[in-house]
């Protein structure tokens, strides 16, 4: 706090002063009303309605002249206070984020709690009672859902599901262990006389243990993101804390039911029922989430005409899933988690890109906002002398047990999991995982839900919960980052993915698949493979838009999402670097600019500026605020070239990513151990197969020095070609671009039946003498392609642009190209499609649109 500079102090005091009069005046207005944040629900609505009614009744009677303005505080009281508190909380965050020196050392969540103390102190000082406290209803219905939804929606799916087993073990068994162990140990110590006399029974201790087992994701994730811990550790902690919230609530409810039932009535049957109910509630909640995810996907399939609000559906449906699960007394947190996790892939494909961005941003706004509020109110709610009941033994032992059992649980479960994990979780990571067991809002909210009638020592429990939260969030939160650094936890590589890395990743996957096949075992990814097959076949058909699906069939379905993100990241990264580069080489660039545009440009500068602004080009604020015209346009110019270059890079990335053959891991193909058949519809598989077979035949032939068995060989390419042709055609049609459709078909047919067929069989004869054991892909070159592409094309269709450009910009010599694999016929359609794009600028926008739709 001491580091705060003057403007921040001013801001802080300003906001305090700002909220002061309203809150206190509201309270003085009528003491019993207790209009609070929590009371945005029915009760207050009614009271405020009554108030309104009263006023309107009184108003006509008392006035004797027409008032120009009247003071109508009660009309707006409840929403006004809510809005005000939201503002205050967010301003707190703003103040802290002004100075990064503080937040570097001290985690934000801890700071927010501290400022909560201050605010709470002010309220209490004015009111002499804790008027504002975070109510469980507010927490569970208005603050928590968006946080969970955001986490679920932004969950890295692939990682999550590939680590699902471990996450479930941590979340379910770990949580139960924490709850049980803490509860039983506390009870043991109580029986041993460590805490004096308390009116707490065994079941109450268990209940207390269960509410304390909720691990809060917020604080840990913030730290993890900052230091970029490796992705496995990240997903383990993230996934665990997310599911753990749901499990905790379920566990709490079960224990609560036991407490209500009373120790006397509990027998084996009830316990079994409790266990069953635990699983039914948890997994039933997940099921509700999945159902709503399906509804959501189906909905977004047909929101094309109402793009403006399609983003809203995500929020409404997810929230409904939460409420529905709550209504069915299933786990609402699980429901909304799974709703987000399951639908993200499909809705992101179904929706317009802009809507996807809208959803992402809006979700972040909501989640971050309510997170802030939760922490501030965790501070405010503590300022209430009524809840502070001190019992040294109870509190210290709770802290100790919570800490120790978390460590024990993590280590034991990891030891168990490491037996089956390919890459074991390292000891250091286990330390971080166990240290990351911070408690947060859920624990507090559950503690406030405790029924003081059934649990006599509610205040002690509440107070202990507070202390556990403060202890973990503040102390562990502060020390977490140094610890991560000090222990040298394996960081994730935060670099833009390179082409070579992509290529090699794919190589690795193919290699692993091949090795697994050679070893003759069903691999680790058997389930994933099966699921992918099922998904491709059924789920995508129903949940995805036809247009999105079409591009899925043809492109990389699974990595589509990744591609988009990559592209976006890439552009922004490039732009960032671009502007920096510009800053460095300003002199050179300005010279360039002056040479190029001269003074005649200066009068149309404003237009350019406006245009680029509207195009959504990133004209940075500095360039707009800078007054001098040349510099503005200079930056735009710089930006433009930058963009172009980036786009090229992005294109290359896309191209490669989309066309790399999928390894079997994420590849659907008809597969059975006993029976091998190639699905006719799967061009890719067939293509590889044919190529492999041809090359094998080749090498076999060359090894034997035999005569080319022309019949057999010629069969393949022909089939291949026909298939390619039809493929190309259907492709063209599916794209439905407005020009040249028939043209392409014509040229296809032409080149297939035309001059190339004549040279068809010769190359095999000439090449038959080559001895080459290794698989040389150029050997599978269909003979038709021996002629350089531009020649054959010039023969058949001189009219189309591609041949010209191919001639112009072919970067290698003809001798080189002979070593390359064939330019297939279907290339030409794609190719000329792309190139026509270049040649005919007027059609660009539509074209681009159609392509965007596909990717």
């Amino acid at each position: 706090m001491a580091v705060l500079r003057r403007p921040e102090c001013l801001l802080l005091t300003a906001l305090l002063l700002f909220c002061w009069p309203y809150s206190s005046s509201a309270l003085q207005w009528d003491e019993d009303l207790n209009v609070e944040l929590r009371d945005a629900d029915n009760a207050t609505a009614e009271t405020s309605l009554n108030k309104q009614g009263n006023q309107t009744e009184h108003a006509p009677a008392t006035i004797d002249t027409l008032p120009i303005v009247t003071w109508k505080w009660h009309h707006v009281e409840a929403p006004y206070l809510v809005a005000l508190w939201v503002l205050v909380c967010w301003l707190c965050k703003l103040v802290f984020e002004l100075n990064h020196r503080v937040t570097n050392i001290f985690p934000e969540s801890g700071l927010l709690i501290l400022i909560g103390f201050v605010l709470g102190g002010i309220v209490w000082g004015a009111d002499k009672k804790a008027t504002f406290a975070l109510q469980p209803t507010t927490f569970f219905y208005y603050l928590l859902p968006q946080i969970i939804l955001d986490a679920g929606y932004c969950m890295p799916n692939k990682l999550f599901f590939s680590n699902m087993g471990a996450i479930l073990v941590y979340a379910v068994i770990g949580t139960c262990w924490n709850a049980g162990a803490v509860g039983i140990s506390l009870w043991g110590c109580y029986e041993g006389g460590a805490m004096g006399h308390l009116e707490i029974g065994f079941l109450q201790f268990l209940l207390f243990g269960s509410l304390l087992s909720a691990v809060d994701p917020v604080a840990v994730i913030a730290v993890f993101e900052e230091v970029h811990v490796n992705e496995v550790l990240f997903i383990l902690v993230f996934g665990e804390s997310l599911l753990n919230d749901g499990v905790t609530v379920v566990l709490y409810n079960v224990c609560d039911a036991f407490v209500s039932l009373g120790a006397a009535k509990i027998n084996a049957a009830e316990i079994i029922k409790g266990i069953i109910s635990f699983f039914v509630v948890a997994f039933g909640g997940a099921l509700v989430g999945v159902i709503f995810a399906i509804i959501l996907c189906l909905l977004t399939r047909c929101t094309k005409n109402i793009q403006i609000i399609e983003a809203g559906f995500i929020f409404v449906i997810s929230y409904l899933s939460y409420l529905t699960a709550e209504m069915l007394s299933l786990s609402a947190i699980m429901a909304i988690t799974f709703c987000g996790v399951c639908s993200q892939k499909y809705i992101n494909v179904n929706m317009d890109e802009r809507s996807v961005n809208t959803v992402r941003y809006a979700m972040k706004v909501f989640a971050n906002g309510s997170e802030t509020m939760i922490f501030v109110f965790l501070g405010i709610s503590a300022i209430d002398p009524a809840i502070w009941v001190w019992n040294t033994g109870f509190i210290l032992l709770t802290l100790l047990f919570v800490f120790v059992y978390r460590i024990m649980g993590v280590f034991f479960l990891t030891w168990f999991l490491n037996k089956t994990r390919l890459v074991p979780v390292e000891t250091i990571e286990q330390v971080i995982m166990s240290y990351g067991g911070l408690r947060g809002g859920v624990a507090y909210a559950l503690a406030t839900v405790l029924d003081p009638v059934k649990i006599k020592e509610k205040n002690l429990m509440l107070c202990t919960t507070f202390l556990v939260i403060y202890f973990t969030v503040v102390l562990q939160g502060v020390t977490m980052k140094p610890l991560v650094k000090w222990l040298k936890v394996k960081r994730s590589a935060q670099s833009e993915l390179k082409l070579i890395e992509k290529l090699n990743n794919r190589t690795f996957e193919h290699t692993l698949c091949a090795v697994e096949d050679i070893c003759g075992r069903i691999g680790d990814n058997w389930w994933i493979r099966g699921w992918n097959r099922f998904e491709q076949k059924w789920i995508c058909r129903y949940l995805m838009k036809p247009s999105a699906r079409k591009s899925q069939d043809y492109l990389f379905g699974v990595f589509h999402q990744l591609n988009l993100e990559d592209a976006v990241n890439y552009v922004s990264e490039g732009e960032r670097r671009g502007s920096l580069a510009f800053m460095r080489s300003e002199d050179a660039a300005s010279v360039d600019f002056k040479k190029k545009f001269g003074t005649d440009m200066s009068d149309i500068m404003p237009d350019i500026m406006v245009n680029t602004d509207f195009n959504g080009l990133d004209v940075s604020m500095s360039s707009v605020t800078r007054e001098s015209v040349p510099s503005v346009s200079l930056e735009i110019h710089e930006n433009d070239t930058k963009n172009l270059r980036n786009n090229n890079d992005v294109n290359v990335h896309h191209l490669l990513q989309q066309h790399l053959y999928k390894s079997r891991k994420h590849h659907r193909h008809k597969y059975s151990r006993s029976h091998f058949s190639i699905n006719q519809s799967e061009d890719e598989v067939q293509e590889i197969f044919q190529r492999t077979m041809r090359s094998r035949l080749e090498s076999f032939k060359s090894a034997k020095m035999g005569v080319a068995p022309a019949k057999k060989i010629s069969k393949h390419p022909q089939k291949d070609r026909q298939q390619k042709m039809s493929n190309g055609k259907s492709l063209d049609k599916s794209k439905a671009h407005p020009y040249g459709d028939e043209d392409f078909e014509f040229s296809d047919g032409n080149s297939a039946s035309g001059g190339e067929a004549a040279t068809y069989q010769t190359p095999y004869a000439t090449r038959s003498g080559i001895v080459n054991r290794a698989f040389m892909p150029e050997m599978d070159t269909p003979p038709t392609m021996r002629t350089p592409p531009w020649l054959s094309q010039a023969e058949t269709d001189g009219s189309v642009a591609p041949s010209q450009r191919a001639q112009r910009s072919l970067p290698w010599s003809p001798s080189n190209i002979r070593r390359l694999a064939p330019l297939r016929i279907s290339n030409r359609s794609t190719d000329s499609f792309i190139m026509a794009d270049v040649v005919k600028p007027p059609e660009n926008p539509e074209d681009r649109n159609s392509r965007r739709d596909e990717t």
Partner: protein, 192 residues
């Protein structure tokens, strides 16, 4: 014959014990045996090519080739195990111990070398543009033109090439992939 199997198994156990557990060796041996249609204690290329899934693996033949030492077209069980040992996950104790004399086969560098050899056909310890193009052509569909593929290859080489010879040496290969979690991505779990 059964005694022959036993001898083989024992021999291999002696050498490869450092890499595989006993049950793994037994399992792999039975697999080896079932692949060995000629029943001569060694696998030929044809034996591998009989595995149906490999025919639809774009890199299938390259990987088959990796099993054969240069100039030979038979691989015995030891060689078979030796190649498979590349794919064993790296374990904690191995990481620290460093396997006194030489690097273990499943070290990061050896895994990378295995991948490198998949590209490097002429074994000159360089991935040339042509070699890269060959692999790329194998791995992409037909919908990508040679021109595009050429630019991809060029860019890929540019990313890795530090000395400007337009090819990727093994050290450059290691360097450019240093952020990739090779230990994980080139490992499979053999059944215990």
């Amino acid at each position: 014959p059964l005694w022959c199997d036993k001898v083989l198994l024992r021999a291999s156990r002696r050498v490869e014990i450092a890499y595989f557990s006993h049950s793994q060796i037994t399992r792999l041996y039975s697999r080896f045996h079932s692949l060995d249609k000629g029943e001569n204690g060694a696998l030929s290329r044809e034996d591998f090519q009989r595995i149906p899934e490999l025919a639809i693996n774009p890199l299938g033949d390259r990987i088959i080739n990796a099993f054969f030492p240069e100039g030979e077209d038979q691989v015995n069980f030891r060689g078979f195990m030796r190649t498979l040992a590349h794919f064993r996950p790296v374990e904690d104790n191995e990481k620290s111990k460093g396997h006194d004399a030489s690097e273990p086969l499943n070290s990061r560098n050896n895994k990378l070398l295995f991948a490198f050899r998949l590209y490097d056909l002429d074994r000159d310890d360089k991935i040339s543009r042509d070699e890269l193009l060959q692999v790329l052509r194998m791995m992409v569909g037909v919908n990508i033109s040679d021109e595009q593929l050429g630019s991809i290859a060029d860019r890929t080489i540019q990313e890795a090439d530090t000395n400007g010879d337009m090819s990727i040496s093994f050290s450059e290969f290691i360097k450019v992939l240093e952020k990739v979690d090779v230990e994980q991505k080139m490992s499979i779990r053999f059944l215990h």
